[in-house]
Amino acid sequence: MKFPIYMDYHATTPVDPRVFEAMKPYFTELFGNPASRNHSFGWAAEDAVEKGRKQIASLIGANSKEIVFTSGATESNNLAIKGVAQMYAERGNHIITAATEHKATLDTCKHLEKEGFRVTYLAVQANGLIDLNQLREAITDKTILISIMYANNEIGVVQPIAEIGKLAKERGVLFHTDAVQAAGKIPVNVIADNIDLLSISGHKIYGPKGVGALYVRRKGPRVQLTAQIDGGGHERGMRSGTLNVPGIVGLGEACAIAQAEMAEESKRMAYLRDKLKDRLLGALDECYINGTMESRLPNNLNISFAFVEGESLLMGINDIAVSSGSACTSATLEPSYVLKALGAGDDLAHSSIRFGIGRFNTEEEVDYVAGKVIDVVQKLRELSPLYEMHKEGIDLTKVQWTAH
């Protein structure tokens, strides 16, 4: 085994060596600008970009003409939400999203609120999923866009996308989904699910950083966007700027590999994830899984180890790269807003670890991680006054704490 063990695949992924090989020529000999229409350098680059476009479109059931390249999913989300808001401002000024969205969505919505748009942030249920009835009730005749992420980046829960898409279509509202964590991991189909706009990122699916895409529906309805970056009118005027050819080749190749291997890979991910879960829950009491296991990415596990603080846990497992929902280093000491939105107490949010299993993890690594986490949680609980009180039968919610 090689240390440290990387198990934080929701944050980013290494570039798959096959993807890297595909990209290489486009840095050096095939360096042309796809906008150069009058020589072979440009044609070669354009061919590569169009191949990438097809590979991405194929992964999500779209037409390649519906793919707009961006610098990543943050830009894709900005373009989708601001682009729709500005283009359809005369039709309405209301946007619906959810409290557990990525900051790229939430902060974009907050920006629009300052410009006079009204935004509804749907609460989520304890299982992490939105309530479709609440969504239905939130739609007004002023609603122009629903933006709900496909799968959550912290807790991996998969939202009822098909139902949301159906509802949006019935009510004549556009539907955008941030599919950064879902695309390439689970089947995604923009036609079947009535998705109008979909964001995707290269570096979450074993492609390079700095490249992403936005699917923009062309038929039924034809979605229009106000460009956020002006210039040479690339990407049908929706996103100017010389195309990142090696990045696009990499994103395309990553999509093709993900599509070809998804069935097998997702089975392996679920096996490893479930093994990790079963070992942790088998050895440790008072562990809580955040978010439903019923509708979840196969590679995600987010657990709160009650009575143990997340950062101290990470310190004990410093040969394993994972993430904690506790942000003890920030001035505000605010734990994860996603976990708080589930209604988990702040104490449990501070005690959470996100495991993101990926393509290059081995079963041996999963076994090591399980054993190490169990050891450190047990050690920290020996040190924890809260665990001691819990064992004495004291109800911690009834204690008068001296908040600081």
Binding site: E309, E311, M315, S384, P385, L386, Y387, A403, H404
Partner: protein, 128 residues
């Protein structure tokens, strides 16, 4: 963020972990912090009533590595000190000893609060 060697040492080998009998009249208990803030420290001292010297100090902490180290260090410092000497320990002493970065200063403040709370409790119990 990198931890100082001293924080790592206290985290890996915490000193004086445990609990003393709360009901013992010579034991003072201080519990500070709150679970929702991500830090709870319990610090206990056992004082020799005739000399006023702290003979034992124990802690348990729920919190980040710096919080664990701050309380572990505090118990080391408390042993052998008189009650009044203990009250003179300042959070800045802990910050300097452990080289805590600015974002972790609250851990040292919490440790100072825990010392004061434990001594207060002892004083109340012993009628001083």
């Amino acid at each position: 963020m990198a931890y100082s060697d001293k924080v790592l040492d206290h985290y890996n080998n915490p000193r004086n972990v445990g609990s003393l009998d709360k009901a013992d009249p010579t034991v003072g208990t201080g519990m500070v912090g709150a679970p929702e803030c991500g830090d709870v420290m319990k610090l206990q001292v056992k004082v020799n009533p005739s000399t006023g010297i702290i003979e034992e100090a124990k802690f348990k902490t729920f919190g980040c590595g710096s919080a664990i180290a701050s309380s572990s260090l505090a118990t080391e410092w408390l042993r052998g000190k008189t009650v009044d000497e203990a009250l003179a320990i300042k959070n800045t002493d802990i910050v300097n000893e452990l080289s805590l970065p600015p974002v972790k200063i609250h851990c040292s403040v919490l440790a100072e609060d825990a010392i004061k709370a434990a001594i207060d409790d002892y004083k109340k119990k012993s009628g001083n």
